[in-house]
Symmetry: C2
Subunit: 200 residues, 2 copies
């Protein structure tokens, strides 16, 4: 059951058979995290890729003033990794923490490299998940640069319908790029104006 | 000469030989752009990847109010593509325009797909360039969310030393996320405070 979703996902990109499935099961390590458990601390050198089975991971930055900025949420069916830290062996710029009780699969850098040596076609799947990351990040940038806070909130609700009532409102506000006070006032205003996003 | 840099770059990731080099030369199309020539218009469906040989491409969004927001610059040795439009056959969210006279190589979606069927190892190179994009975009997000305008300007100068005096100051201001007026005042202030970034 643990591996079902990811094996299906890989199989959708590139057909995999019994041998490859067994191999993948042997290199993907399962881990349960409690809410607030950390996977990665800023300045730590990283060498793992994380795939979310359930729950939610939050990646965030502490700036020089100690303020937190949410970079992204990673929910079921998505990968998260600090590729820069993994690739260049340099300290990570962000933290990854569980925002809910969360189940993940861990793929180490070494295991990933060996997997493509053994089964080169897996590169197609890794490539596909990178394309999804590029699309997600460019859309996040697009939203921050050109959409209003209301529009960003709406997109958050579309992207993460299961998170909007289960994670801290303070973190949603930070993801949207506004203060918790402004977020609270914005939601009140939307309610008063009887604007209710179908998704929210 | 046109293909020298990209073939070297590919060869650094995965060794390629005469047959593969000749094949790559046959599928990469060379194009010269004049400053202000467009490669992609917002809402157009895209099916090409672009590699910059010289000059600079600017990707930007027009928001609902008609304001422009620079997403990214693409200079020598970098790829740019709207992966979302290419993958899902949907209208692009941004424009790509030449900010200087620019030389590029064009790889069509079809040619890319065929190239990995013919030489699966090329997937490793495409993968590498996607990782670079993920790193770039996450750093861009990190900067916008947590650095000051001065720090973002400094990073721009480090990232694009060849662009800071050759492209429009208005576009640099937009990339940094401030108005041209604020950008001009900020540079003046830096000068008055005798702060001069070594890179700028």
């Amino acid at each position: 059951m643990i591996f079902e979703k990811i094996l299906e996902e890989i199989n959708d990109v590139v057909p995999i058979f019994k041998e490859e499935k067994e191999y993948l099961k042997s290199i993907l390590k399962f881990k349960k995290l409690n809410k607030k458990d950390f996977l990665l601390h800023q300045k730590q050198v990283e060498d793992n890729y994380y795939y979310v089975l359930s729950g939610c991971l939050r990646s965030y930055i502490n700036d020089k003033k100690g303020l937190e900025h949410v970079l992204q949420f990673t929910s079921k069916g998505w990968w998260i990794a600090d590729n820069e830290s993994i690739l260049y062996n340099q300290p990570s710029k962000f933290n990854i923490v569980a925002d809910l009780d969360t189940e993940i699969l861990i793929l180490s850098k070494k295991a990933k490299e060996e997997s493509v040596k053994k089964f080169p076609k897996l590169e197609l799947y890794y490539n596909e998940s990178l394309i999804r990351s590029v699309i997600f990040l460019r859309n996040r940038l697009y939203e921050i640069l050109s959409l209003s806070a209301e529009e960003r909130y709406r997109n958050f609700c579309i992207m993460f319908p299961e998170l909007k009532n289960s994670i801290s409102q303070k973190h949603i506000a930070s993801y949207i790029g506004i203060t918790p006070e402004f977020f609270s006032a914005m939601k009140k205003k939307l309610k008063n104006r009887q604007i209710c996003f179908e998704e929210c």
